[in-house]
Symmetry: D2
Subunit: 280 residues, 4 copies
């Protein structure tokens, strides 16, 4: 039995920033990329309608959650693996990249085959066996911060993916748990520039889970861009109040359009590579 | 696709308390049961020495962690599945029940066969796929509270195990994450009577991880008993400072002996079914 | 202008523990002393009834809050300085020591004259001007921990009192603010042995504010004694649900009697100097 | 004794926003106003140098802390009331408005006479006696959020000032206390749009105390503007590392110049009334 020495944080710093490129879409410093879609996949009709709308408005990646981990075993848990045909449909009907959450190694092979980007949710940030398995697929991975993880722990979780040879990790700040309960979580906005100081990896923000409130999503998104984020993972639903889950934090298509317009203006002021031709 | 209605917490209350019985050892209201052992398994010699000592001093269950999830991928990760022979050895050399942590479904069958009690660590409390898989083994399960879980979320995680038909769940409070950093975590002592109000399940306390400090383990243990806990999960190591992990929070055999003596006296005052004949 | 050097925590440790003695009542290591009374003073009749009951049942100090700081300016703020005649009445009708909260320097002279012990509430732990003023009265002072203060900050606040020459400080743990909301605050039970390691001062626990729930007060009290506390500051009211404030966390006389009985038994097991003759 | 009924939060909402105007400087919705200056006042030379520099670069209010509450009684506590002559000097040498922290009612009259704006620090947010006294001066008041106050508690503290007839309150978010310790506090950026939803009062952000790190001040400032803040309270010092306190979070004149330039560009994109002629 080999005993490894107790190592301190491996600062995953380097002289240049990691830019991940996928079908001409860039993730990382200097770019601003929007991931959008419903909280969990629902009917084919709603999925396609949402996908076409967000693609038209400048999103580059579609949020396709087949599996939806829920605090209670008695609430809607998502489509399940049967929803994989929705991914195939989206690939043939749109040019969006597809990202999806991985909950266990069970369907990992299928998901890695069908999706472009895999997501580790905040509940699984400490599920090291899963991190290593996902890392080995060599697909880009969105790693969401656990709601009680320090930045050091967040970066060390990323190391579980990097250590198996996959450096295509996109870090996602999604709010931390504090005493404040006006918002669902507390968006730790300074995690963005702090992570930028500590690592070369792309950093995005989830303005939906961090606020839990539709009315705050736009402010959170603009603050994220101003703080230096490289993108957003936003929940968008054509009719938020009729969605199966998290409706109170999803914005609708009109709100998404307004937000993308505002972000385009802001991006110019901040010298970010972001624009939505159709809105200019 | 069937859409389940959004259910509120299923109060897992009932008119009587659940008492789990295993080889004449009882877990639950009225009893006080001690689980003890090193943080992670090390050499056969140290393991056996520790096991014999804690058995002699009244522990009923031995803490046998083959796998040790670590924040950094570069620190000691435990024995791995090869350590299963240590469990067999302990079964033949002692009368202790054995408990072990399950990190993934990979070796679940083997672990469920060799160990008496399975443990879900705090990092995996939200790993619902694992909870269901462990539930299906029908073995007693120690479920540790995630360091940022509310009591409601903790009980709903237990529901993932109960919902597959396994009601042999032992809840373990192990400290929550707060701003205070004198202790490693903040022992939420009132979680004990609060859980006792809310559920019929046994509730134990981990005085080692909650304090992170050897000097506070005895106080935490006594407070846990006085607050109504049904047992303790304590890290004991013959030479804490030479242990592979968490040495600063493990107590040694002499300290364990003193603690068991103190708890015996306290148990009488509190009408708890607990005694250590050899110490009386 | 003299610039003081940046000093690190003055560990207020010493070779022996501070025992404060007042009319044959002792506060500090080895003793266990109960402070009890309503959240805020109400009618003379209720005050006297409560005082006589808790005195009979073994409390040594009566909680006499004339001023009640409230989060909202529109809720009941207490009797005010006119209630000082209640203190005089209690002195003539009982042998209880009287403690009262000081909110500002306005009535400090009067309060220091009429009460035996002054209290700084958690909201004012960082009100350094008040700490120094109260310190200068040379009266014993109960200093309650601010709900977001680390132990280091708590001890440094005590230093503001000690630094003006008054070492009769009784530290009171009353719960810290965390994400958990089943309880009003999270009782940081390990603050008790931790403070005992760090300082020679008496340490007591407020089981009422830390829980916010009547049903948990007894468990909190017993855990406090088992963890090494030197006393308790408990809210008792003859009819909690009719009290002006904090009724949901006050226990009634019967519950107080049961608790004092249980604590007497526990004190024997823990070798604490505490007994209630009338209950033995 | 009149017993007030238990009132819920008084939503201090109204149909229009409060704009405070002082010598042609505006505070409130639509404007963006910068308050800058050293953490605590030091020598006349440094004070004047800093004041002239920040005035030239577009700050409208000078941070003049005569009193500096410190966690330890043994660290530098500020100039004290003798520093009042510095305020007089600044009034004659610059056109800046002056703001200063009030710690107690002791020198309130003098401070209210010499300063333009009074500040209640986060430690005193719950010091209701002080809030009422400061309210009665009828001066504009900056109220800093306590690091463990919910938004509801923050607004109710503001009510203590409003309830005595003074509605010139400027709310200041300055970071809350959480488990994360990479930053000194966690900037609760969403408090800004949340407060804007809940109240008509101006809301500013302190990017210095919330980060505790010089390298993050600019990102925090830009995020604050993008999230909708009406201004900033920034620590600026000509030689941060030689300042008496909080040097690690103060930016120097060059960094301040760069920030004001960036904010001017950002303000245009966000339609905020803010510009620095000398930098355009």
């Amino acid at each position: 039995m080999k005993r490894l020495s107790e190592t301190k944080v491996q600062k995953i710093n380097s002289t240049h920033n990691t830019i991940i490129e996928l079908n001409d879409v860039h993730f990382g410093e200097g770019y601003f990329t929007v991931f959008a879609g419903p909280c969990a996949l629902e009917s084919e009709e709603i999925v396609l309608k949402t996908a076409r709308a967000v693609e038209h408005l400048g999103a580059k990646v579609f949020r396709c959650s087949l599996f939806k981990p829920r605090t209670s075993p008695y609430t809607y848990q998502g489509y399940g693996i049967d929803g994989v045909n929705l991914l195939q449909m989206l690939h043939s009907e749109t040019n969006l990249l597809l990202e999806t959450e991985v909950l266990s190694t069970d369907h990992l092979e299928t998901l890695a085959y069908e999706a472009d980007i895999l997501r580790i949710g905040s509940r699984n940030m400490d599920n090291y066996e899963l991190l290593k398995a996902v890392g080995k697929t060599n697909k880009p991975v969105i790693l969401k911060r656990n709601m009680s993880a320090t930045l050091e722990e967040f970066l060390l979780a990323a190391e579980y993916i990097l250590s198996v040879g996959n450096d295509k990790v996109i870090l996602c700040e999604r709010g931390i748990r504090t005493f404040e309960n006006y918002t669902r979580n507390t968006l730790d906005i300074l995690a963005v520039p702090a992570l930028k100081e500590l690592t070369h990896l792309p950093v995005i923000v989830d303005p939906s889970h961090s606020t839990g409130k539709r009315s705050l999503v736009a402010s959170a998104s603009k603050a994220a861009m101003a703080a230096g984020a490289d993108g957003l993972l936003i929940e968008v639903h054509p009719e938020p109040l009729r969605s199966y889950s998290d409706g109170q934090q999803s914005i609708d298509i009109q709100e998404f359009e307004k937000l993308m317009k505002d972000l385009t203006v802001l991006a110019k002021a901040l010298d970010k590579n972001f624009s939505v031709p159709v809105l200019s």
